[in-house]
């Protein structure tokens, strides 16, 4: 019985360092908020117009689009996969929404969003099926569908463009109206992120996503339907990208064949900056959404302080590397304990 006390004595310092690492990991969100405060503060000191209502609303609406996409991408990345096709899905869904209004000017708002949802879901089903049934790595599958969907979009749209004048005001309002100083889009993102964050904590299916990303083989041994869950993750990601496509159109009010090009990388950058492990298993939707807000705010701040937009790209990249270095640092703190474990395995 004495060895219990001894064990505790041996364990204590080790679990101390773990507690530190876990603290850092779990309070990643706080770090992003802190960075956000610094960025906003610095930009405002340089140019007080940065905190003007118009600019704040523009940042919130723009980052809302990225944050919404980040919800689906987070779920996919947590399962140790990646969805590169979301920019293309957003593009084709946005164009389809516009065309729908051109041909049926009086169509009801919910129908429009249902169509956008259906398009996104269909794309997600295709991604999910190829990844889980044909067992092709998702990086390759979604790179393929990125080009295929964009190609279909291009063939369909040609050189055409749908403009704000062809869209009803009830639709455009979503993009510019505000409630309590926050744009509709911002509210939509806030509610969606809050709901998704809660769901990812509270449902078995969601915890399965984490388990799969953490160790796919162990997940299979534990009786988790790995294929079905990964499929679901891609469908979710596609569906969200579809709906976000319609919202995107309401914000920018004009759409052509290149809408949403490159969004996938902005979203993945936001997700990684937000603390979601690129090899799956950990991270939160809230973190990813804050990452989206931070990256968007930085870009906006650089414009306000008159820095070339090329620099803003470089800075986004730098932030991405910093985020990954930070994760590495946490991993290294845990590494000594991991090493003794691996040695002990013999």
């Amino acid at each position: 019985m004495t060895s219990v006390a001894e064990d505790q004595g041996v364990l204590e310092p080790r679990s101390g360092s773990h507690a530190f690492a876990e603290f850092l990991a779990r309070f990643r969100e706080l770090g992003i908020v802190l960075a956000l405060v610094i960025v906003v503060g610095a930009a405002t000191i340089d140019n007080h117009l940065f905190l003007s209502a118009a600019n704040v609303q523009q940042i919130l609406a723009g980052s809302a689009i990225i944050a919404l996409l980040a919800i689906g991408e987070t779920v996919v990345i947590i399962t140790r996969n990646v969805d590169l096709s979301i920019g293309s899905i957003l593009g084709i869904s946005a164009y389809a929404t516009g065309v729908l209004y051109v041909h049926h000017p009086g169509i009801a708002l919910p129908v429009v969003f249902l169509v956008a949802l259906a398009i996104g879901t269909a794309c997600g089903v295709v991604n999910g099926l190829i990844v889980t049934v044909a067992r092709v790595p998702s990086l390759v599958v979604t790179l393929g569908t990125l080009y295929i969907i964009r190609g279909i979009d291009g063939a369909w749209a040609g050189g055409n463009q749908v403009n704000a004048s062809m869209l009803p005001d009830s639709f455009n309002k979503i993009g510019y109206e505000t409630v309590l100083g926050i744009p509709y889009l911002g509210w939509i993102a806030i509610i969606a992120v809050a709901a998704a964050t809660y769901a990812m904590r509270s449902f078995r299916t969601a915890r399965d996503f984490y388990a799969i990303g953490s160790d796919p083989d162990a997940a299979r041994l534990a009786g988790i339907p790995v294929g079905g869950r990964v499929f679901l993750a891609f469908v979710l990601s596609g569906a969200i990208a579809g709906v976000t496509g319609a919202l995107w159109l309401s914000l920018y009010a004009s759409v052509d064949a290149i809408a949403g090009v490159g969004y996938e990388f902005q979203v993945i950058a936001a997700v990684v900056v937000g603390g979601v492990a690129i090899f799956g298993g950990s991270g939160t939707v809230l973190g990813a959404a804050l990452g989206a807000l931070l990256l968007y705010a930085i870009n906006s701040a650089l414009v306000v302080v008159n820095v070339s937009s090329f620099w803003s790209l470089a800075l986004s990249g730098g932030l991405l590397l910093a985020a990954i270095a930070f994760d590495r640092l946490i991993a290294l703190r845990v590494a000594p304990a991991m090493r003794t474990r691996r040695r002990a395995r013999g």
């Binding site: 060895s3 219990v4 001894e6 064990d7 505790q8 041996v10 080790r14 679990s15 773990h18 507690a19 876990e22 904590r201 509270s202 449902f203 078995r204 915890r207 399965d208 984490y210 388990a211 990303g213 953490s214 160790d215 083989d217 162990a218 997940a219 041994l221 534990a222 009786g223 988790i224 492990a277 298993g281 950990s282 845990v334 304990a337 991991m338 003794t340 474990r341 040695r343 002990a344 395995r345 013999g346």
Partner: protein
């Protein structure tokens, strides 16, 4: 406390299992009773793990019966075995490093509250209660990442209790544990027994079997030897049952006159792996590193070759000290290592046979920075011929070869460097009997040509048949060293299980 009068909770009768031509289990038999800890012992390769995997539902036996409460049952997969109340604690548990301890325990079966939401508070409370029941302290909220093996096993045991497992199988649970952790595990095993669980305790270490078990089953060569109450057996009788078989004519050992000292290992220590290991290997000599899995044999070999750094001690080749942690220096000094896992570490499976053979000798087949295909092919053909490699075309990928021929390809790759010291780790694991004899003949010839050979082997007949001297490791320390003439299976087994004092 034993309830041996009642029917066994689970029983396996005349179970057989083959993997291709390898008969892993020829006649497996076990009966487990509630409230009883049953020990299962046997040498490496005796079929213990196969038997455990049949109980786990991982393998399905080719023949024989599985009885659950006296009724015949069939497990097609792990899920059915779990549903029948059988929980397996493997030597290396598979947890989700990114999930908390509590989540790991309840994965897929989390307690729910309204709207099918996970009841996190109840989950943590129940996890805490389980640990209390087991008499251990482990924070349910911490992540599983970085837990010690012992703590990971605790999580698995707690998981087993949540599924109301009646049978708990522990497959060599103590192999990676410290002494304190083993004591803790023993207390938990006793707790489980007192609860009325049936426990199957698989272990190499006889003192552990005698410490926790009420009944012991001995297996040898895939067969059930006997099952007896622990009171009726002694360490001696168990060892005799575990070994004791005829030596085959598999070992064409050529007697050689050992020459100069090639390898001198002095007080070599690597924290957590091995301590104070000293021995020498002379030219023309085959020295075997014997011991149980996990005794630190491969680790010593890896350190000598420079894959892992050592913390203290020295390694000398022909009187010159090697720097720690440098495979390049080890290779330059004339060491070659044929690793245990040839698929992962010995060969590049998608490369052609000739590429693989020439891979360690690129210096001899290149001019400037360019590899000469012609000389690469000549080199490979030369060695393939000498080793009697059976292949269709040298340009075929190396995975097209059979296991035994793959092993020859690895040997060819290293012999091409004309090593002064050849380290072979489990040279004949998983290859057929015919090729086995050929590999043995080859090693013997190399020794006769003056190469110093350090052989790691878990097969006692191989050790006894091939080695001039035998160094037995136990828990990372040299337990005993035998000359060829003094060694027999009993004595080696005694030393390998840490029972050197009682050795005959």
């Amino acid at each position: 406390m034993t309830t041996s009068q009642s029917a066994p909770v689970i029983a396996l009768e005349h179970a057989q299992k083959s993997f291709g031509a390898v008969h892993a289990l020829e006649d497996g038999e076990i009966e487990l009773f509630g409230g009883e800890v049953h020990g299962l012992v046997g040498e490496n390769g005796a079929g213990k793990s196969t038997l455990v995997k049949i109980l786990a539902g991982v393998h399905r036996s080719d023949a024989g019966r599985l009885l659950l409460d006296g009724e015949e049952a069939i497990f097609d997969n792990a899920k059915q075995s779990q549903a029948a109340g059988i929980a397996i604690i493997f030597q290396e548990p598979t947890l989700f490093p990114d999930l908390t301890v509590a989540e790991n325990i309840f994965v897929g079966a989390q307690p729910l509250k309204r709207f099918r939401r996970i009841d996190g508070r109840r989950m943590r409370r129940e996890a805490g209660a389980l640990f209390e029941q087991l008499g251990v302290r482990l924070d349910p909220d911490r992540l599983a990442r970085g837990l010690s093996i012992a703590d990971q096993q605790l999580v698995e045991i707690a998981k087993a209790l949540t599924t109301n497992a009646r049978v708990i199988v522990m497959d060599e649970p103590t192999a990676a544990l410290t002494t304190n952790e083993v004591e803790q595990l023993f207390r938990i095993v006793e707790t489980l027994r007192a609860r009325g669980n049936a426990v199957l305790f698989v272990s190499h270490r006889l003192e552990e079997i005698f410490a926790v078990c009420q009944r012991v089953t001995v297996m040898r060569d895939g067969r059930h030897v006997w099952t007896k109450p622990i009171g009726e057996v002694t360490v001696q009788s168990v060892i005799r049952a575990m070994v004791g078989r005829d030596m085959d004519a598999l070992f064409p050992k050529i007697d050689t006159e050992p020459g100069r000292v090639v390898l001198k290992v002095d007080r070599l220590t690597r924290e957590g792996d091995f301590t104070d290991v000293s021995f020498v290997v002379r030219s023309g000599e085959i020295v075997a590193l014997a011991g149980l899995v996990g005794a630190g044999r491969s680790e010593v070999a890896r350190a000598i070759f420079g894959i892992d750094r050592w913390d203290a001690g020295t390694v000398e080749i022909d009187g010159r000290r090697l720097p720690p942690g440098s495979p390049t220096a080890a290779m330059a000094a004339g060491i070659a290592l044929v690793p245990e896992d040839r698929r992962q570490q010995g060969l590049v499976m998608d490369f052609s046979i000739e590429r693989n053979i020439a891979l360690a000798s690129l210096d001899t087949v290149r001019r400037g920075g360019l590899i000469l295909r012609g000389s690469e092919r000549r080199f490979a053909r030369d060695w393939a011929l000498r080793l009697r490699l059976k292949y269709a075309r040298l340009t075929n990928p190396v995975w097209t070869l059979s296991g035994g021929n793959q092993q020859k390809a690895v040997l060819a790759k290293w012999l091409g460097r004309k090593p002064t010291l050849l380290i072979v780790d489990e040279p004949t694991r998983g290859i057929d009997v015919g090729t086995k004899a050929e590999v043995h003949r080859l090693l013997s010839e190399l020794a006769a040509q003056g190469v110093a050979i350090l052989m790691i082997s878990s097969e006692l007949p191989e050790v006894l048949g091939m080695a001039d001297r035998i160094v037995v490791l136990f828990e990372g320390r040299v337990m005993r060293e035998f000359a060829r003439a003094d060694a027999d299976e009993d004595a080696i087994m005694h030393a390998a299980t840490g029972l050197v004092e009682e050795a005959a």
